[in-house]
């Protein structure tokens, strides 16, 4: 497994007739293989920009990003991506969606179909392989997206608000699924979310990011994800330590929001 290294990453967007937007400023961190990092922050803090840089969809204006020592210059299959929604290929069946990556690599057909069946099992979609993706619910579609990403056996899985479009109940189930997958596969996962609870529950490491310029404001090492296998999810989220952390982070984010609003008034 490869270590992800982010060194002094800067991202500045030029705006016609306006001050350049500093989307990311001096973001530096190393992420050991097999960790689950959640990125949390108010809108405009650059968390999605950072994820897109890691995925290779954007080139930073400064600094360097490497995975296992190799610089990231574009998208690659060692870094899988799960989007919020709309990224499945609706003209393909569930099976063919999952087999898309191996098909692009001209992988052996029998091997691929065995792998697809295995993945359907893993994400809890056994028997749904022949369905078209638009016949599935939103939660099931995200399961397909996870399976499609896993089919290529990436080193790092990047998730951009993967559960953002789901209803509360489905969301909780999917959180458990993501934790199960993380434990079983040992993949490095970076997950962007708006939900403080989700960031706390899923992350074994959490970055709270701040806007203007976008930066990592505070980092946390969290115990909850590691314990999730033994403790019921609701019980965990209702535990005093969880609530304490949740309120701490919430008030931190509120401070940032108020600061933004205050600046807005002055300007």
């Amino acid at each position: 497994m490869k270590q992800l290294s982010v060194q002094g990453v800067e991202m500045v967007y030029e705006v016609p007739r306006g001050e350049p937007v500093h989307a990311l400023s001096n973001v530096t961190f190393d992420l050991e293989a097999g960790r689950l990092l959640t990125l949390l922050g108010p809108s405009g803090c650059g968390k999605t920009t950072l994820l897109n840089i890691l995925a290779g969809f954007l080139a930073p204006t400064g600094g360097s990003v490497t995975l296992g020592g190799d610089p990231i210059t574009g998208p690659g299959q060692e870094r899988g991506m799960v989007f919020q929604q709309g990224a499945l290929f609706e003209w393909l069946t569930v099976e063919k969606n999952i087999a898309f990556g191996p098909a692009m690599n001209k992988a052996d057909k029998d091997e691929t179909s065995a792998r697809v069946q295995e993945l359907l099992e893993v994400v809890g979609l056994r028997g749904f392989g022949d369905k078209m993706v638009y016949e599935l619910s939103g939660g099931m579609q995200q399961r397909v997206a996870l399976a499609r990403c896993l089919a290529n056996d990436p080193d790092v899985i990047l998730m951009d608000e993967p559960l953002g479009a789901l209803d509360a109940l489905t969301r909780e189930k999917m959180q458990s699924l993501i934790l199960d997958l993380w434990r079983e596969t040992g993949k490095t996962i970076i997950l962007v979310t708006h939900s403080v609870e989700e960031a706390l529950y899923l992350g074994d490491q959490l970055f709270v990011m701040a806007p203007r310029p976008g930066r990592v404001e505070r980092t946390y090492e969290l115990p909850f994800a590691a314990k999730a296998a033994d403790v019921d999810a609701r019980e965990m989220k209702a535990s005093p330590e969880f609530i304490e952390k949740r309120e701490e982070i919430l008030s931190l984010i509120w401070e940032m929001e108020e600061e933004i609003m205050g600046r807005g008034e002055v300007a």
């Binding site: 969809f57 690659g76 299959q77 899988g80 991506m81 290929f89 692009m104």
Partner: protein, 335 residues
């Protein structure tokens, strides 16, 4: 006593009825006719507006009735007799002032301005068996269809790659924008005289005109098909290891299919409309050529028969394409 009892039962019955049908009676009546929903707001709700087949049938009958009244029923009974007059006789008849005058006077539309239903029906028989202008109706229809298919084929073959290029590359967009935007608004028929001068009268001219009619529509359809591709889909494909070519072939092309199909339907409609006019002067066989050949002989029955075939074929082709679309692109609108 028994009577009173009976009346009581009757009262209860009517009470029951009143209860069931009281405030909801009219709603229930409309519900049973309009489906199972109980919407109170339907004016402006497009999902509450459906096609009413009974009314479509009614309008068809009304059209036929209008045709019948103006060409046949008006001024009865003389027109009934004149129905059996052959065309050559009719022309001779018309040369005698009184006969022609009577005809025109007693009928709102005389056989010389619009043929009756019966004449047209008979014309179909003749057209199928003997044909007109050297060919049977089948041959004329086949010639027209074949011409449209070839025109559309080349329109798609040239148009789709250009449209894709415009959707994928700024240089291609810049380069093709000028000719596309300048040539697109030209009605194809405005070019007919020019085409005839350059390519002469014949099959090739009509087909080139059809290519011109369909290519711009296909370019725009392909361009917008590429542009509407969800960025997440494209990025997902790259992250899964797809090359540019694979993204084009496996993501952008299937993603553009619904738009392309819409383009094909629109282009077919325009081509079909352009075709007949193009054939009027540009071809020896085809439905348009047949109609044009019939005009100097006052064979209005043939003209109208040809028009009916054109109308029906237009509808049939559109239905066929819609059927194909539901089969080939079941995911349409579900992305």
């Amino acid at each position: 006593m028994s009577l009173g009892y009976g009346a009581g039962v009757g009262d209860e019955d009517s009470l029951d009825l009143a209860d069931k049908s009281g405030p909801f009676s009219t709603a229930g009546f409309f519900r049973s006719r309009r489906g199972s929903d109980r919407k109170t707001v339907t004016f402006g709700d497009s999902s509450a507006v459906r096609s009413a087949p009974l009314w479509s049938l009614f309008s068809l009958i009304a059209m036929l009735l209008l045709w019948w009244v103006t060409t046949t029923a008006w001024g009865m009974p003389e027109p009934w007799a004149s129905m059996d007059v052959s065309d050559s006789e009719r022309i001779t008849l018309c040369n005698k002032d009184d006969a022609c005058g009577r005809d025109a006077y007693t009928q709102l539309a005389s056989p010389l301005t619009f043929p009756s239903i019966r004449d047209t029906w008979n014309a179909f028989g003749t057209l199928f068996d003997e044909g007109f202008a050297n060919d049977t109706l089948w041959a004329h229809t086949a010639a027209s269809l074949w011409r449209v298919i070839r025109g559309m084929f080349w329109g798609i073959v040239f148009g789709v790659p250009i449209g894709f290029a415009m959707g994928l590359s700024s240089r291609a967009r810049g380069f093709f924008d000028t000719p596309v935007e300048l040539l697109r608004p030209i009605p194809p028929l405005a070019l007919l005289p020019l085409f005839i001068l350059i390519f002469g009268i014949g099959d090739g001219t009509a087909m080139r005109l059809l290519i011109f009619a369909s290519i711009w529509i296909m370019i725009i359809a392909a361009r917008s098909g590429v542009q509407t591709a969800n960025l997440s889909k494209v990025r997902a494909a790259y992250s899964l290891g797809a090359s540019k070519w694979q993204v084009l072939r496996r993501v952008l092309l299937p993603n553009a299919l619904p738009e392309l199909f819409t383009g094909i339907r629109v282009a077919l409609g325009v081509s079909w409309g352009t075709l007949v006019a193009a054939e009027l002067v540009g071809a020896r066989e085809g439905l348009g050529a047949m109609i044009f050949a019939a005009r100097p002989f006052f064979r209005l029955d043939v003209v109208v028969a040809g028009i009916i075939v054109i109308a029906i074929l237009g509808v049939v082709m559109d239905l066929l394409l819609r059927f194909l679309e539901s089969r080939l692109i079941p995911w349409r609108g579900k992305g």
